[in-house]
């Protein structure tokens, strides 16, 4: 029996039937199908979070000049305060509210009599104290149940204070994971913010989508893009702002880093403004190189291409020696990677470069297209749980619609390999024989650890110490264990350094007490002298 069967066999028949579709072994030949984006089984210790976590926690929380008011009891606002490492920095014209946690702190009477009055008052107080240009309201579970009309309150406040006020109905019970919240956040930003600015278009301008600036990743990517000569109009949403987002429609091209959380905006902007998007990956040297070349190829300016090659060479030169050293320390090791909905894929090539094979992988809340590639999208059946997440349709904005290339040129670029509106998913890079576990849970984590014995394990805080206590080095790929950046060339070096450190810290050699392996009773036999 192989590892997959051994682990799944321990389940009762009902759970086995469900999980067998989510746990597969990569085989050669036809692309494999995996079940994904379906509800977690009650009682199974899933690593997933909720819709609110995806909306406020991931997508809108990082917008720094926005007062994000969480409408609900205190917990949800508290847990998303400073815990995700989406770094932000204010400047003369942009306020930074990310150091603050705002909540309506609903009490029992609000649940009984409704919380709209409280929300109105909270907005009034936020305006009086902070005078923000934009307020966003996120609702938590009870708000949807008691029927507070947060959208009406937002519309009323927008009129009253003359600022932008948006509401997001992202109650935790909606959808099956954080993913629903990403979608809701995307809809709101698209409907009410993107396209409302009137900035002049800039040359070679791009938006960076699905980059949350964890550990400063976004800043590192921006540094490289600016060196080459691009103008970054907006970043969605790490260190991003309402002020920048308004003008996102003026850019020439959208770059999509985290496909799962933001592909909706990329698609809608294509329809509404004619803007192409390409899938990029700024994690890992080969991926960065090809992403940078793809962008330059898209713009087609020979000077830009030459500059790209020059920057790549310089950046590589800076880190090559270090990378070679860490590769010598890591070569031949095996890794497990369990994160998010895109991030697992992003790290595979970086690990490969360091000589580390990924033998166990999965997403927490990925959809089938994140595994199998976007070609499967038409065949994905949306189940009842996800149907409740609104899918908005946008139409062509005649005034702002522009295309950078003719359709013929786009086809030409596609044929040349530029990933325009294309994402091939995890399958494109994962090695044969790897075990894939969708919506991985505690039980499977523990069992596969025993079966496959990876040398290093990448996931999040909830299982970090479970893995470490099992004797396996463990690093968080959500928070980078408070290190980073990991993106870009310099980031790759940080990553290599960190995992070498995790693998070789002297403590690993001391875990077992000497009396467990050596005799503890030492003496001499009488009369031998």
């Amino acid at each position: 029996m192989d590892s997959r069967d051994k682990v799944l066999d321990k389940y009762s028949s009902k759970i086995y039937k469900n999980r067998k579709e989510h746990v597969i072994e990569i085989e050669a030949g036809e692309p494999q199908v995996i079940a994904a984006d379906t509800r977690a089984i009650p009682g199974i210790m899933t690593n997933r979070g909720c819709c609110y976590a995806g909306c406020k926690g991931v997508v809108i929380g990082p917008l720094k000049d926005v007062v994000n008011i969480v409408h609900g009891p205190i917990g949800c606002a508290y847990y998303t305060w400073g815990t995700r490492r989406n770094k932000a920095k204010s400047d003369e014209s942009t306020k930074d509210f990310t150091q603050y946690s705002f909540s309506t702190d609903m009490q029992e009477t609000d649940i009984v009599f409704g919380g709209e009055k409280k929300l109105r008052q909270a907005i009034k107080e936020a305006v009086e104290i902070f005078n923000p240009e934009c307020i966003m309201i996120s609702s938590t579970c009870p708000v949807g149940l008691i029927g507070d009309d947060i959208h009406a309150v937002a519309a009323e406040a927008e009129k009253m204070y003359g600022i932008k006020v948006l509401a997001f109905s992202c109650e935790g019970y909606k959808g099956v994971s954080q993913s629903g919240g990403h979608h809701i956040a995307n809809n709101g930003l698209m409907k009410y913010i993107i396209g409302t600015g009137d900035a002049e278009p800039q040359k070679y301008s791009i938006n960076l989508l699905g980059e949350y600036n964890i550990g400063g990743d976004g800043w590192e990517v921006e540094r490289i893009l600016k060196r080459i000569g691009y103008n970054v109009v907006s970043v969605m949403t790490g260190d991003g702002s309402y002020a920048d987002l308004k003008n996102a429609h003026t850019a020439d091209l959208n770059l999509v880093q985290c496909h799962r959380s933001i592909n909706y905006i990329a698609e809608m902007m294509k329809t509404k403004y004619g803007m192409d998007w390409i899938k990029v990956n700024f994690i890992g040297l080969e991926s960065i190189k090809s992403s940078l070349m793809d962008i330059a190829t898209y713009f087609g300016d020979p000077a830009l291409l030459a500059r790209t090659e020059e920057v790549i060479a310089e950046e590589l030169d800076e880190i090559e020696e270090g990378m070679a050293y860490y590769k010598s320390k890591l070569d031949g090791k095996k890794a497990a990677v369990y994160v998010g909905g895109s991030r697992t894929h992003h790290y595979i090539n970086l690990l490969k470069y360091l000589g580390v094979d990924v033998i166990l992988a999965g997403y927490e809340f990925g959809h089938r297209d994140d595994y199998e590639g976007r070609d499967v999208i038409p065949s994905i059946k949306i189940d009842a749980d996800s149907k409740n997440i609104e899918s908005i349709t946008v139409t062509k904005d005649e005034a702002n619609y522009k295309t950078f290339h003719t359709p013929e040129k786009i086809e030409e670029l596609k044929a040349a390999g530029v990933p325009i509106e294309k994402y091939d998913g995890l399958w494109n890079d994962i090695a044969e024989g790897a075990i894939i576990t969708d919506d991985f849970n505690h039980f499977e984590t523990e069992e596969f650890l025993k079966e496959l014995k990876p040398d290093i394990f990448f996931s999040g805080i909830k299982d970090k110490f479970i893995v470490q206590k099992s004797g396996v080095p463990s690093r968080q790929l959500h928070s980078y264990d408070y290190s980073g950046p990991y993106a870009g060339f310099r980031g790759a070096l940080n990553f290599a350094k960190d995992i070498t450190m995790a693998t070789y810290t002297p403590v690993w050699n001391m875990v077992q007490a000497p009396w467990k392996s050596e005799p503890t009773l030492v003496g001499s036999l009488g009369g031998m002298e």
């Binding site: 009891p73 205190i74 815990t83 104290i129 805080i461 909830k462 875990v511």
Partner: protein, 454 residues
């Protein structure tokens, strides 16, 4: 840092900014982790469970296990009975705990799920247990959830059989495993037989051995929880946290109770030792006398560095009161004492403390937040901050040292292993406070004023 916080105080009745409390369920989860072989279960959307596990793991740097009913929209409309039923079956099948401790969330409370009924109808394997407590997030704070869960265990399990066990029932308050260990050590030294609920030592500070086990050695055993009903007396440490379960046990099993402040500082520890002395009728052993004498020695030796220093203390109500006590004992002025947890008793007790030490001009506030505390400090600063990690922004903004005490401390290591209770804990606190103040003096003074001997 926090540049947008204005110095000018405004009339703010509704908007909560930078809270000093979180919601009930995480407290319930923490209490349940202090029961041996227990799986805490969150009856709501899976995000709650995820957030709470993250919060606890970040504080303890150790696994915090818990499961969820994983509500979808359907469950939110039709009730979570079927989710809980499925969850209970799966948890026993896969994770095999001895007991599942269910707590509710604002979601399941708002839809009015009947947990009593669901649990009665659930299929529980022979010899296994399911208990529950109601922890609506819109009432109280994590402290409320913590004591509600303790009461939940008592409600389902504790019984008075009519035969007393000669033991003391101890509720330790919302403290770290290191504090629980210290309380146990003191009770053993005093020759007191006890049952402590919960006991997270050996669970959330379990050793690294190379083998992970889901249910480490620590935690209060189920037979001990049952036997709580036969105790002679309950001692509830942390009056605002432990009175509720102590009173609950008295009502259910006729165990009389007494509450005391958390044993933080000299007099609070004295009161704890005296209570143990009265209970066990054993003399106080030299080991404890020695520790107390050492503490006296240290406080006298160093008093010039703490005398009249002003301090802002924030956090959980009983922890803040305990820290105010030791600050006053060290000659410091607890200028601001703030808890996010609602309850007027906090302010009454804080003011009584000030009166006892004859100190004036200090402010105590319940249902407060860090935003307001920061504004107070901007208007009238302090020398030192004492509280959890979230105070680091204020510390940086105003350049005030921060001594990390209480919950949550998510940006430092080791703290959860070390006590702040007992004389030993007071010695540790003295060192933390003195180092913070004296490092500051060394950093800020002129070259010619740098003292080699202090």
């Amino acid at each position: 840092m926090l540049e947008l916080t204005p110095k000018k105080l405004s009339d703010r009745s509704t908007l909560r900014i930078n809270p000093i409390k979180t919601c009930q369920p995480v407290g319930a989860m923490y209490a349940a982790l202090g029961v041996h072989q227990c799986m805490p279960h969150s009856h709501g959307s899976q995000g709650c469970c995820s957030f709470h596990r993250m919060f606890l793991t970040r504080h303890f740097k150790d696994p915090a296990i818990a499961s969820s009913s994983s509500f979808t929209e359907g469950a939110s409309v039709f009730g979570g009975g079927s989710n809980l039923k499925t969850a209970i079956k799966n948890i026993f099948d896969i994770y095999d705990p001895e007991i599942i401790a269910v707590h509710t969330t604002c979601l399941s409370e708002t839809i009015g799920d009947d947990l009593n009924g669901y649990i009665q109808d659930a299929k529980v394997p022979e010899g296994k247990l399911v208990v529950h407590t109601n922890t609506p997030s819109y009432v109280g704070s994590h402290i409320t959830g913590y004591y509600n869960m303790i009461a939940g265990f008592i409600k389902y399990l504790s019984e008075a059989t009519g035969e007393k066990n000669g033991k003391l029932a101890l509720f330790p308050g919302f403290v770290n495993p290191g504090d629980m260990r210290e309380m146990k050590r003191l009770m053993k030294l005093m020759g007191t037989e006890f049952i402590m609920l919960p006991d997270t030592s050996g669970v959330l500070d379990a050793p690294m051995t190379g083998n992970y086990t889901m249910y480490p050695k620590g935690g209060t055993s189920i037979p001990d929880i049952r036997d709580l009903g036969n105790c002679e007396l309950t001692l509830g440490l942390g009056e605002l946290t432990s009175e509720f379960p102590a009173d609950f046990l008295e009502k259910k099993c006729k165990v009389p109770y007494k509450t005391l402040p958390l044993p933080i500082g000299v007099e609070n520890t004295d009161a704890f030792i005296m209570a143990l002395n009265q209970f066990s009728k054993n003399e106080v052993p030299y080991e404890i006398e020695e520790e107390r004498g050492q503490l006296m020695d240290i406080l006298l030796d160093s008093h010039q560095y703490t005398n009249n220093k002003t301090v802002a203390i924030f956090g959980d109500p009983d922890t803040v009161l305990g820290m105010a006590q030791i600050a006053l004992e060290m000659g410091m002025i607890p200028k601001y004492m703030v808890t996010g947890t609602p309850g007027a008793a906090f302010e009454r007790k804080a003011n009584a403390l000030l009166e006892k030490f004859g100190v004036e001009g200090c402010t105590a506030k319940q249902s407060g937040d860090l935003f307001e505390l920061h504004q107070w400090i901007k208007n009238d600063p302090v020398d030192l901050l004492i509280g959890g990690t979230h105070g680091k922004q204020v510390a940086r903004a105003e350049d005030i040292p921060l001594v990390r005490v209480g919950f949550p401390v998510i940006d430092r290591y080791v703290h959860s292993y070390m006590p702040i209770v007992g004389y030993k804990g007071a010695i540790r606190l003295a060192e933390l406070i003195l180092n913070a103040l004296m490092d500051r003096q060394d950093r800020d003074c002129e070259d010619e004023d740098l003292e080699m001997v202090m």
